[in-house]
């Protein structure tokens, strides 16, 4: 006799779910400029060649 297939389980996504069940933005992107935004200003003058 053939066995009936059980329906696939519904998997709840766990990535980027914060402590209160909220969807979180990955923190790694927080310091990055928005896509297409202006380039950040350059810092000081380049240093000399190390020896």
């Amino acid at each position: 006799p053939s066995r009936s297939e059980s329906p696939p389980r519904q998997r709840k996504r766990q990535w980027d779910i914060g402590p209160n069940g909220e969807i979180t933005e990955p923190l790694r992107g927080a310091a990055l400029p928005p896509p297409g935004g202006p380039m950040p200003a350059a810092g000081g003058a380049p240093g000399g060649v190390g020896v």
């Binding site: 998997r11 766990q14 980027d16 402590p19 990955p26 923190l27 790694r28």
Partner: protein, 122 residues
């Protein structure tokens, strides 16, 4: 184990410490561990494994994915993902660091383990 684990600057393997929480170890409202069937525990682990695998695959082919069931505090639930090369592992490490999984913040670092058959916590 001295717990002074070697942390390499580069590796093809990353570690996500204490990522997997075995539901059988989580105390219920009465303080006792929840009574879950073996089937429920297996499904819980399979769902976890699949979800981690799918996310890690975005950075490159996953050669090995191991979840530590050791009861030692610094090893329990550790996830080890071995990629094909260091660049893929670097991308995965930088992506995972600071993200949340199931309500808990994740950290990620390189692991010196390249051959899990030889891996020992001394």
């Amino acid at each position: 184990c001295s717990r002074l684990h070697n942390r390499p600057t580069f590796s093809e393997t990353i570690t996500i410490p204490n990522m997997y929480v075995n539901p059988a170890m989580v105390p219920g409202p009465d303080g006792k561990p929840l009574e879950l069937s073996e089937r429920d525990l297996r499904h819980h682990f399979e769902d976890f494994f699949e979800e981690v695998y799918e996310e890690m695959e975005k950075f490159g082919p996953v050669e090995e994915l191991n979840v530590c069931d050791n009861l030692s505090e610094h090893l329990v639930g550790n996830v080890y993902v071995k990629f094909r090369d260091e660049e893929e592992a670097l991308a995965a490490r930088d992506n995972v660091n600071g993200r949340f999984f199931a309500g808990r913040p994740l950290t990620c670092e390189f692991s010196p383990v390249t051959d899990f058959r030889e891996a020992r916590c001394r």
